[in-house]
């Protein structure tokens, strides 16, 4: 049985505001960036990254657009550039930025504003 419709491209999800379907087109666009983020699973890579983030990213072949967005901590821009949250969360925590701060930025809110929208903000 063939499902009547399932998303095969971002276009199919564009009527869901604020949603970026991580499909093959976005994955291709973010491939080098996501690969660099995954390398940060290793503690020695995290240490090397923190010495000079820009040099580390250049050495890994990360594009200027992605590097700029990292320097601005612009997670929404990174998402639009094909960054996948599960990958770039490794970069974020290396930089001392947690999931909820990443989310608040993507929503265009401060961390405190975002936490006020949650029912039990102490459960972190």
């Amino acid at each position: 049985m063939q499902p009547s419709s399932f998303p095969t491209s971002n276009a199919d999800a564009t009527h869901l505001p604020g949603t970026y379907l991580f499909d093959l087109a976005l994955s291709r666009q973010g491939y080098v960036f996501n690969r660099m983020c995954a390398a940060l699973r290793k503690p020695e890579a995290r240490a090397e990254f923190l010495v000079d983030p820009d040099a580390y990213m250049r050495a890994q072949g990360v594009s200027e657009a992605h590097r700029d967005a990292v320097h601005r901590r612009d997670w929404l821009a990174l998402t639009r550039l094909g960054g996948n949250l599960f990958f770039f969360l490794k970069l974020a925590v290396t930089l001392g930025v947690g999931l909820y701060a990443v989310g608040a930025q993507m929503r265009g809110e401060s961390y405190e504003e975002f936490m006020r929208t949650r029912s039990v903000p102490g459960a972190v």
């Binding site: 499902p3 998303p7 379907l21 991580f22 929503r107 265009g108 949650r118 039990v120 102490g122």
Partner: protein, 283 residues
């Protein structure tokens, strides 16, 4: 003969693992969640006494990278490491596998035309880890062997919900045809509603979550017919993970009894635990 003795669905939120490791089980913020797992943990230890758990999970950019991304993958190793997800590995013992059972599952699934990627090495991230110490005592060593079953719910195109359900049915035939006396639990992980990407970060849908929990026991076909777009719309982009619960449900017979349910949605994810047991033999 191997026997399926329970089906469990559980969320796999990283904050649960952090709260566990920091000993926050009894805090007002976390007690509603951990108290919900406690009776199931007792039941598993005292009554179920499983030998092997097949854990249906997804990786989060930890072990499976995008250079080659399987749709379905099965662990066939004799042990599995605890992964470092960027902030050091969690203080949990490594897992022992059951390579003979894994090899049988692989053979049977391939014969049934489910062409799994077979893995001799898999470090396990929170997709696999979160529920484990809440359901079995980790120290000094896990009392159960494990078989990790990976599903792509990260990079579209994903397998359909229906395909996941059918994989569960095939998995059941594989379990039933194993000659050794093994008590097997299938644990489906992920969800429930949550979205972690874009401006819609934080989307939660407790009423949808309730509907999912109410429906999976008696009408899994309605859930298996859902499209990814419907799941994303209602449960959020990452809520699509619930298709992994359908592998668990597909492995169980038509008639199941709900033994236990917990639901708690404090922050960004509908956290659920659902425990099912078969009533009658499969039709």
């Amino acid at each position: 003969m191997a026997r399926l003795v329970a089906g469990i669905g559980s969320s796999h939120v990283p904050s649960i693992g952090r709260a566990h490791d920091q000993g926050k089980q009894d805090t007002p913020e976390w007690a509603p969640l951990f108290d919900g797992f406690a009776p199931v943990k007792r039941w598993l230890a005292e009554e179920v006494q499983a030998d092997v758990v097949i854990v249906v999970y997804n990786d989060h950019g930890t072990e499976f990278l995008l250079d080659r991304y399987p749709t379905f993958a099965l662990g066939v190793a004799d042990s599995y490491a605890v992964a470092d997800e960027g902030y050091g590995p969690r203080p949990l013992p490594q897992f022992k596998g059951d390579p003979a059972f894994s090899a049988h599952l692989a053979q049977s699934l391939l014969t049934q035309e489910f062409d799994m990627t077979l893995c001799q090495e898999m470090a396990l991230d929170h997709g696999f880890l979160t529920a484990m110490p809440l359901l079995w005592d980790a120290a000094p060593a896990w009392p159960v062997a494990v078989v990790p079953l990976f599903v792509n719910v990260v990079q579209h195109p994903l397998p359909t919900a229906q395909r996941c359900f059918k994989l569960g049915q095939a998995l059941r035939r594989a379990i039933d045809s194993y000659p050794e006396d093994l008590r097997v639990v299938v644990l489906g992980t992920g969800g429930l509603s949550h979205q972690l990407n874009g401006e819609r970060f934080g989307h939660l849908n407790p009423s949808w979550d309730r509907w999912w929990l109410d429906t999976i026991s008696h009408d899994p076909q309605t859930l298996a017919a859902l499209t990814h777009l419907e799941l994303i719309r209602d449960a959020g982009a990452e809520g699509c993970e619930v298709i992994m619960w359908l592998v668990m449900r597909g492995a169980m017979g038509a008639q199941v009894r709900e033994l236990h349910r917990t639901y708690y949605a404090p922050m960004t994810t509908g956290m659920a635990l659902l425990t099912l047991e078969e009533i009658a033999s499969r039709d």
